[in-house]
Symmetry: D2
């Protein structure tokens, strides 16, 4: 029962690495949004294997099909079911996975929890699971953009120890897409790409940090006390594979400041209340304050490496396992659309929730 995200814009993903495919059902989408596969496919292409020299060379086209929820090019308000077929090539490289638990993967915990496990390609724990999120996220991004003017972006800002400089206020989609890493810092990106290639050459892998940004979010989204906007963003991000941390605004560095240094002063700028700094990260008390939302997500280095590592097998015997086949040396470029998707899904849910509670006929917000 953990395969649903959102309350009002509610997505349910399904599918294993092998078998009939992967997909998502989106329930609660507002009616009359123009929508076809052409709105979805570009984000899936950004997530797809084989897109560049620094991701896995596996060839999967990941072509999405909308099975329901639209008619004559407009959403109906009914569930939107989307499906991407598996191409279902069962690599020889996978066979050892039937018996041995890959270190720092989910093989062992799935085995222990469910007592039965789809081992080919990792089954449900495969990165293919995120296809449904990206497809649903593309709808969420379109709704946010068209109905509320909200812009959602993400980009790579750190690879292992190499850091980029990115300004959440001004970064553009064009700059992000200008290189295969999706790092908009043109000076830092080439060295980062070389580092990834180097690690891959060593049969090793790296991790890094992705910045998430949402601009022009209206004041008022977020539902204290538990469903604070940053709490739901944190959940969305930590629900992504390979994530180890989330921080918003000043984040962990913020603890080095004192209160006087950290606080964001308010000013009236042309009739709007703005903060003259943004250590709050665009959210105060769990509710958006109109400033740019910006946060960072830590992705660990990819667990599959081309070296023998200690592990146990399904009979709980000690053994070793060496990664084989074609894998990502770094998850970051393909994870950028995932961060965007979870950001958009979190925001659209709160947009609808805000409309529900505070958009009533008697409200000054109506």
């Amino acid at each position: 029962m953990g395969n649903t995200f959102g309350h009002l814009f509610r997505i349910t993903t399904w599918g294993e690495s092998h078998g009939g495919g992967v997909g998502v059902v989106v329930d609660g989408c507002p009616p009359r949004l123009p929508l076809t596969e052409a709105d979805i496919q570009p984000d899936l292409d950004r997530r797809r294997p084989g897109q560049s020299s620094i991701v896995t060379p596996r060839k999967e086209t990941d072509t999405v099909k909308i099975l329901s929820g639209t008619f004559e090019g407009l959403t109906l308000g009914t569930p939107i079911s989307m499906w991407v077929k598996n191409e279902d090539f069962r690599s020889e490289a996978y066979n050892e996975m039937a018996e041995k638990f890959r270190p720092s993967h989910a093989d062992y915990t799935y085995h222990a929890k469910y007592g039965h496990r789809a081992w080919p390609g990792g089954g449900r724990t495969s990165a293919r699971e995120t296809i449904g999120r990206v497809a649903a996220g593309a709808i969420a991004k379109k709704l946010l953009r068209e109905f509320w003017g909200v812009e959602v972006l993400a980009c790579v800002t750190q690879v292992q120890h190499l850091k980029a400089v990115v300004d959440p206020e001004t970064v553009t989609a064009a700059a992000i897409e200008s290189n295969i890493l999706r790092c908009p810092d043109a000076e830092a990106a080439p060295a980062m790409i070389r580092l990834i290639e180097e690690r891959r050459g060593e049969g090793d892998s790296v991790g890094g940090i992705i910045l998430g940004v949402a601009r022009h979010v209206p004041v008022g989204w977020g539902d204290p006390v538990f469903d604070r906007l940053e709490a739901d963003l944190a959940k969305g991000m930590l629900s992504l594979p390979a994530t180890k941390g989330f921080e918003i605004g000043s984040g962990f560095e913020g603890v080095l400041l004192t209160g006087r240094e950290h606080n964001d002063p308010f000013r009236n700028v042309e009739g709007r209340v703005v903060t003259t700094s943004n250590r709050s990260g665009g959210i105060q008390g769990g509710i958006s304050n109109g400033a740019t939302i910006h946060f960072r997500v830590a992705f660990k280095p990819v667990a599959t490496v081309m070296h023998p590592q200690d592990t146990v097998d399904v009979h709980l015997q000690d053994t070793t396992l060496r990664g084989r086949g074609r894998h990502d040396p770094c998850v970051l470029p393909r994870a950028v659309p995932l961060v965007e998707a979870m950001t958009a899904l979190t925001l659209i849910d709160h947009a609808l929730r805000h409309q529900a509670q505070c958009g009533h006929p008697g409200s000054r917000n109506s």
Copy 2:
């Protein structure tokens, strides 16, 4: 509708700083747990103002009353309603808050979202809101301890730039409670306490980091793909006031390692599968793996400082506001029971969820 946390062990908190009090309703508690106010009050006392020289000197006894859900000292399986009366002293120091938005507080966003705001003492945004969480968390901790042998702890590990050394495997409640800061590193704690006193003397405030720990969690808790155990922990932590970040296991530092360095090898130790390192933080693929769960939460410096700061008023005019009255110079010692509460509430919910899906009569786990 954001005032409920959990699906099966479901808590709903209510209450403003001033008015009839604050409280919580716990729905889904298993029946026949021995429970009286004496199980709840100690954690409330750890959260309470006036408990030491480094927290606000306000005097509030925060005495809890169980209004329902128990009979003859045992839980009934029906909702447990708990209530703490407000003492409702409306300080003169608060009056300016009716008109001016405190910087980096939630006054402005509540005003903008709801169009109406209980300004005395911050209303719903007051730290008093967390009383209900701590009361419910005390029940969750007792259930975890008595029925599953799980131990939940939290402690302070950093104050501004001063860091403590704490081992999640061995830290004890006694060591944590051995000083007023709740930092178990006896060498580091005195300097940290002095730093807090110094900042208070300057009319300023500090933040820091709290470590959360759960030991002896059974293998198998957590519900991929969205309700991964770390995702729900992240949400719980970021739902706490003043939090800016969450990281689990290797966290943000983990991105500096390569895959080979980062992976946790498995070994069979006396018939149990264990990891010989724990950069995963006790969770793999969203499911507990039996190792100690450990994570860190960043708390920003307290927003109320005794210096004039730029802000706007309810008429959106620029003005300044200076903190007055009695405030915490540092939220950390009182936040330790909050981190424990949200940890325990997250774990108990997943304990029940695991029982629901994987504890059926036909299961080997039953």
Copy 3:
């Protein structure tokens, strides 16, 4: 976890017959609704024991206190907690209930499910549980009336075999409240009242039927396919104690008609689409069509009778039990506000849901 009703206007009730009281937390109420105890108490008075000669003569004042969620007479958008103290007189008449299961009550099933049971006064199974529903329902009714112009009513239309004639289109609150039975048919009511008194004189009890009505509901409320408006009404009604059936529009009698006879023709009447008959009961395909919603709820005769009846005790031994003390001979007059409450709670939740999905900025409905 079954003590919450609604998704967006979400109520959680708590409390046993004896102990600290009974209450409710309402989460999701729109902000800025004028609200004081004076809006709630009248409906509680209609539910209260001792209000007339045909209900239990027990004296309970059931005075409600709002503990949170309002400020200066307006709702805040935060949880509204309401509490009614128990007067907690533990009648001698109850003592046998500690040992013996009352036939057709819930004593045995609670005992078997939870393994522990608050037997005084029936504990959670007491009719006092419905106080929280009525209090929350009063808020829902006020919201519906003030913001959407919707009118919610209920009345008694049958007592055992005696039937009243009531037109859902024209029945008024005044007519309903004109007698102690809450039956607006002035001709039928006196005989019905005499029947109740007669049964009470025999130490016996009766049941009957309550009509629920909602007028001026906007077109479009209801969420197919599972959360059809009539499905949620049915759930609300069957969640009330002592209910055995629900039917909407033509109901069970409707099966006697053919399709030609049963269908409701549409006509354009002054620019509005109306049905010239209303066998649909105001709902088509799960969505309100603008016509009056009308449905009927069957209440069984009260289970407590003043005659010895076969039962078993907690040791599972056969025995007999005879009702003692002061009981309702008929639940109907006090159940009228319950039916209104559950109707209003169902409708307001769907009002907010409709606003969420179909009230977006790009919608023609916005």
Copy 4:
């Protein structure tokens, strides 16, 4: 957001009459249940058009494909996605539906609510929507049968005014399937079938009543106060197309009895607590008591008739519409598996909920 049913065994259906198909995602299914399409298809065949002379002669094979959630013939504990392709023949008979609202169908309310409507074949309001329910229900029935020994059945007991005699304690699947009507009363069924054929000959339609039965349900399922077992059954039944009423146990007739006559005495029979009558319908206080659960559901006559009827068109102009094409003269035989499905889905959800709250390690129920 109304397309999900259940909390722990949670199904989400999707799909319109025309387009990519219809389907369902089942989340929360316990792992390691043997499951293939062969477990699902038989119930879909019982729901299918063209199965007999008294249902619509449309030819649809409704072949189900399991896309995810199983591996090597066992459930994985991950979401089970099932899909039935549409054959997508767009009948000429449907064209008028683009412009005219069918009386007592959902065309008008969908149009008004969503502002956009898939008119071919009724879109989401088509009976094809129920395919997903039946597929998910087949899994629920198998779980109930294999892990808890619970048997779920439904059958026709009334067609228009013709009534059958059926005993919920003894009725068998074989008797139900012995005729095309699914009425186990061999004497009554032939006349009922003739009546349906007669009405069809007249271009008219009929409705009737279906009995739902669940036997060997353990004591203790059901979650007071709102999620009483009968409340969730009522919701499930009223969520089915064409239903107008639900009654359990004594139902609406029960109001004719006095309390003395209506109560179910308890007796100890071979160490088990049983009721010597069953007017409660197997549920007391919202919790199963171990007796057979039995209830009745009213289905209105089919709305599509072969006669001109008054209606309005999308321009709100008065007009007439005459049903054309191939339609069911009576929904009952095809609705029997729907009632079984919603019964099983309700029960399995409560089985898991009971396990969650009352099956903990410290419980005597564990």
